[in-house]
Structures are given as structure tokens and as C-alpha cells.
């Protein structure tokens, strides 16, 4: 007699989490050591430990400790949080829209955020006392506004998944045009800043920002995890899910709002990091299958590791003028995805 499915699934879940954590710990050490100021892993860990014992008091830190504490540790946390956020948002978006080509930016969130960021940088729109947070706040407002317009358009067009995709695409194009207009009419210095943000970068994140990212991503991810079984049921199609007692309309709208908040927060602090939200859910689904009780935790693990790894690679090959992580995710992600598609595509795509 074969083991029960539930037992087997739970065992696979534990295995995924343990392996993922081990890998993440490894990447954590590498992430602290690698950069234009290299250290051995032991030095990096020692410096990190000292910095923790100083409770982050930078005035008493050595150079090693400062590099690790002010530059590298915040990047690691940001990569982890954003990787998790985009992966979870991608899994949910693909299930809700029922289209495997969809990513978390499909609702126009990234274009809205870009416009918000451009307004902050180029027009100098500042939010009262927000200071350094002006850009992320403006980007977040832009993201949520874009999503609200998309939601409104799609709902008045009947609320079908395709209506969402179409509404998101046109909202995205419209907002991008305004951003482009702003950029060509502005002096080039500011444009550089916006471009850098558009490519997505984990450099210059602070621990304070990480705390916000991790808190929001953590909270929203927990809510999504609670609804894992409902997400499984909606894979059967709206009609059957309704018949089984899932309030599909409520669930879908709620999930879209959650994913937009999730994506909005990630985008606001680190810019548009592409591909993670599209590719991580697919890679994970190919390996663990469609059950969200496995797929969501596995995507969390893969998303965190993937983005941390991409950030490390960007620092390694870029040297002092490091490559934005958004470019690395696509450069590494696309070939790897192609490989998986060839190996497992026959089972995966009907």
C-alpha cells in the first residue's frame, strides 16, 4: 500500500523548506563576502557577527563591519523579500487569471510605479516630510493607482480574466507613454536616475526599507498561504469552483488586490525587476506540480534564493560598475527556463 498523499506532500514540503533554507544560508554567506571589496567567508561572517553585537552602531565599526552591515546585509534582505514577493504574486496571478503567460506586472503596476518614480525624480514631487521615502511612496501610489484603473476598466468590461489582461496592457502602455514624455523633456541627469530605477536595483537599500518590505511581504504571503486550498479549487474553472462552495468572485478580486499590494511594495523600493514573477512560478510548478500547498512554499524558497543568487552574480561580473539585478534575472532566467522547457515541457504544456 502506497503512502498517503497528504503524508507524502507534507514530507516533500519539509524537504523543500529544509533544502531551501540551507541554500539560502549558503547564499547569505556568499552575499556578505562578494563585491568590489572582497572578503573571505570567515571574515565576512566575523564582521557580521561583530556588527550585530554592536547593535548596528556604525560609529564604532571597522571598514569590514561597515561594508557588511550597511551595504551587503541590506541587499541580501531586500533580494530575499522582493524575490519572495514577486514569486508569490506570480503564482497567484497565474492561477487567478488562468493564463501561464501572466506576471505580476500585468495589471499595469510596474508602469504606474515607474510614472510615480519619474514624477518624484524629474518633477521633484516630494511628499511633505517623507524625505528619502518620497520616491518609494510616489512609486507605490503610482502602482496602486494603475491597478485601480485596471480593476475599474476590467470590471466594467465584465470582469473576465481576458478583460484584466487587456485593461492592464492598455493602462501600462498609456502610463509608460507619459513616463517617456517626462523623460525626453527633462535634463539628462535626472533621466539617468529614473533609468537606473527602471532596470531594477537592489543597491542602496537600507535596513529600514528592508523592514518595510519584509513586513508587508510576510503579512501578505501568510494571507495567500491561508487560501492555498481555495487557489487549488479555482484551477477547476470558475463554475466548478463555485459549485464546490468557493466564492470565486470574492476570492479572485481579493487575490488581485493582494498581489498588487505585494508587487507595488517590491517595485517601490527596488524598481522593476522583471522575469522573477513569471519564471519562478513556472520553474517551481514544473518540479512540484500544481498543488498550491506545495507550490506556494516552494516558490517562496525558489524566489528568495533566485534573486539573492542573481544579485551576487550581478556584483561578481559587473565589478565596481555592477549590473542591475533586473538584467541579471533575465539573462540567467531565460536560458534556464528554456532548458527546463525542453526537459519537462512535454508534460507541462498540453
Amino acid at each position: 500500500m502506497e503512502d498517503s498523499l497528504v503524508k507524502r506532500t507534507r514530507r516533500r514540503l519539509s524537504l523543500i523548506i529544509v533544502l531551501g533554507l540551507l541554500l539560502l544560508i549558503g547564499l547569505f554567506v556568499v552575499s556578505l563576502s562578494v563585491g568590489s571589496y572582497p572578503m573571505t567567508p570567515t571574515e565576512a561572517l566575523q564582521a557580521f557577527w561583530n556588527a550585530v553585537n554592536l547593535r548596528g552602531d556604525t560609529s564604532q565599526m571597522t571598514l569590514d563591519e561597515k561594508v557588511v552591515w550597511i551595504v551587503r546585509f541590506p541587499r541580501f534582505l531586500a533580494a530575499m523579500g522582493v524575490g519572495i514577493g514577486l514569486a508569490v504574486a506570480g503564482v497567484v496571478m497565474q492561477a487567478v487569471i488562468r493564463n501561464p503567460l501572466v506576471d505580476p506586472y500585468i495589471t499595469g503596476v510596474s508602469s504606474g510605479a515607474a510614472l510615480g518614480a519619474a514624477c518624484a525624480v524629474l518633477l521633484g514631487v516630494a511628499i511633505g516630510t517623507a524625505g528619502v521615502y518620497s520616491l518609494p511612496i510616489m512609486a507605490f501610489i503610482g502602482a496602486i493607482l494603475a491597478f485601480t484603473i485596471t480593476l475599474g476598466l476590467a470590471e466594467s468590461a465584465g470582469g473576465k480574466p481576458v478583460a484584466f489582461v487587456l485593461a492592464g496592457v492598455i493602462v501600462g502602455i498609456f502610463l509608460s507613454s507619459i513616463t517617456n514624455l517626462l523623460m525626453i523633456t527633462s535634463p539628462s541627469q535626472g533621466v539617468q536616475g529614473v533609468l537606473h530605477w527602471l532596470f531594477g536595483s537592489l543597491a542602496n537599500t537600507t535596513l529600514q526599507e528592508d523592514a518595510i518590505i519584509l513586513f508587508v511581504v510576510g503579512l501578505l504571503t501568510i494571507i495567500v498561504l491561508i487560501y492555498a486550498r481555495e487557489l487549488n479549487v479555482i484551477l477547476l474553472g470558475d463554475d466548478q469552483a463555485n459549485q464546490l462552495g468557493v466564492n470565486v468572485r470574492f476570492l479572485k478580486r481579493g487575490m488581485l488586490i493582494l498581489t498588487s499590494l505585494l508587487t507595488g511594495v517590491c517595485v517601490a523600493f527596488t524598481g522593476v525587476i522583471g522575469f522573477v514573477g513569471l519564471i519562478v512560478p513556472h520553474m517551481t510548478r514544473m518540479v512540484v506540480g500544481g498543488d498550491h500547498r506545495l507550490l506556494l512554499p516552494a516558490s517562496i524558497v525558489v524566489g528568495a534564493n533566485f534573486l539573492v543568487a542573481c544579485d551576487i552574480i550581478g556584483r561578481l561580473i559587473g565589478g565596481a560598475e555592477e549590473f542591475p539585478v533586473g538584467i541579471i534575472t533575465s539573462l540567467i532566467g531565460a536560458p534556464f527556463f528554456a532548458y527546463l522547457l525542453i526537459r519537462k515541457g512535454r508534460d507541462y504544456v498540453s
Partner: protein, 263 residues
């Protein structure tokens, strides 16, 4: 089915309007545990609307549906799903669900814990997988199945809901002859085990072969209710479908062969 079998479903004066257009008007019938009922009628006659009123997806604008003696108007869809299961003609398969995962989803209304199914859920699923000869297929993904295998998996998914009432809307619509028969035979067996089965189908011959009673709908109204041999007559089919047919009786079974449409 014994004559004193309890009534599991009672449709009482049910009407349904969609944008001022009445698509169901004053439908009345009841079905007992173990009865196999066939809904027949042309496209747009209200078969699917009636089924959707029964499973709670649509609320009747007039009248009441009683399930197991309770009015469904106060019941949540999840509560209805514990009594009444649906067998769809097809389901989407583009998200890599396995056969076993699909069958487990049928337990959704019954699972109380937040995430995991209980031992009892697993036993029910294991039994259904055996009953529908799916043991060798449990780890196959839905998109790898033949349509006959998929039909069996969908039946298993409905059966693990442990329903008293089973609704099957065009259960055999795109199956070949053998699988059509297989599905109808399975539904018939389930009805003999005490489940009330309600199917909607365009295939009058299969319906009359397996159903104890048929309800013929036209334009949202009941045209006739009764044994297949009494309801399916050449005159009625001409009137309702606008088609000339020859009807043959063979004991309790009745077969109609279409001849030509009337213009």
C-alpha cells in the same frame, strides 16, 4: 428504488428571470433517493438554468427548491455542495493537476481543517479511485489522459463529495459511444446505490435507456414528466424540437430515429 424512498429533491413552482426575460417558468417536480431522472429539451429550453438553480449558483426568482427537506434559499453553496455534486462535461487541465489531486478537490466542502485533508478524506478518495479504476493513473497529469479516463476522474471527484444528489449536465457530450455508455452505466449504478441522479442530455436514446423518469422542458416550461415511454412520443418531439422522428418501443425502452427537420 423502493416506493417509500425519501424525497431528496423537490422543485416547487420555480421560475428564473434573467434581465426581465423569464427563462424558467413554474417548474415543479420531485425526485426520490435512488431515482435516475433525465432532463431533455432543445437548446435554450432551460435545462442548464434549472440545474444551476438546484446547485445554488442561481437563485430562483420565484418558488423554492428543497434538498433533503430543507429549503436551499437559506443554505450556503458549500452546504449545498455537501449534499449535491456536479459532474461537468469537461474541466480545464492547463495547470498540471494530477488525477489524485483532482479527486481530492472533491473533498473541499467536507474538509474542516485549514490545509490538509484528514485520514477519513483519504479513505474516501482511495475508495473512489479504486471504484473508477484510476489506480494506475493517480500521478498522471490531466492533460495526459484520454477523454474516457478524464470522464472517470471527474466522476470520482463528484463521488468523493458523498452526495445524495448528483447533477450531470451533458456528462457524455464529447465522448465516443463506448465511453458514453460507460458514463451512463456508472451514473445508473450510483442511482441504484441510493443517489438521486439528474442528467441533462441531448441524447434521447441514452436518456430513455437509463432514466427512470424524464422531464421534458421547452421554452422554460415543463412539457411532460413521466416514464420515458410515456413522454418520448413522435408528436411531442415534432412539437418541441420541430423534427420528424420515428419512435420505436422495445419493452420499457424507447428509441427515436430522426428523419428530417420541419421548416
Amino acid at each position: 428504488m423502493s416506493p417509500e424512498a425519501p424525497v431528496t429533491i423537490k422543485v416547487e413552482g420555480v421560475s428564473f428571470s434573467y434581465r426581465d426575460k423569464e427563462t424558467l417558468s413554474d417548474i415543479n417536480f420531485e425526485a426520490k433517493a435512488g431515482e435516475f431522472i433525465g432532463l431533455i429539451g432543445p437548446n435554450g429550453s432551460g435545462k442548464t438554468t434549472l440545474m444551476r438553480c438546484i446547485n445554488g449558483l442561481l437563485r430562483p426568482s420565484k418558488g423554492t427548491i428543497y434538498m433533503d427537506g430543507r429549503s436551499t434559499s437559506g443554505m450556503k453553496i458549500k452546504d449545498i455542495a455537501m449534499i449535491c455534486a456536479n459532474v461537468p462535461a469537461d474541466c480545464s487541465d492547463d495547470f498540471s493537476l494530477t488525477v489524485q489531486e483532482l479527486v481530492f478537490l472533491g473533498r473541499y466542502p467536507h474538509v474542516n481543517s485549514m490545509w490538509w485533508e484528514s485520514r477519513q478524506d483519504e479513505t474516501v478518495v482511495a475508495e473512489a479511485i479504486k471504484k473508477f479504476r484510476l489506480e494506475g493513473l493517480i500521478n498522471r497529469r490531466l492533460n495526459e489522459l484520454s477523454s474516457g479516463e478524464k470522464a472517470r476522474a471527474l466522476l470520482a471527484k463528484a463521488v468523493v463529495q458523498q452526495p445524495k444528489i448528483l447533477l450531470a449536465d451533458e456528462p457524455s457530450a464529447h465522448l465516443d459511444l463506448r465511453y458514453q455508455l460507460e458514463v451512463m452505466e456508472t451514473l445508473w449504478e450510483l442511482s441504484r446505490q441510493g443517489v438521486t441522479v439528474l442528467t441533462a442530455s441531448h441524447d434521447m436514446n441514452l436518456t430513455s435507456k437509463f432514466c427512470d423518469r424524464v422531464v421534458m422542458l421547452n421554452g422554460g416550461r415543463t412539457v411532460a414528466t413521466g416514464r420515458p415511454v410515456d413522454v418520448i412520443t413522435a408528436e411531442r418531439i415534432r412539437e418541441v424540437y420541430g423534427v420528424e422522428v420515428s419512435v420505436f418501443r422495445d419493452g420499457d425502452e424507447v428509441f427515436s430515429v430522426p428523419r428530417r427537420s420541419i421548416r
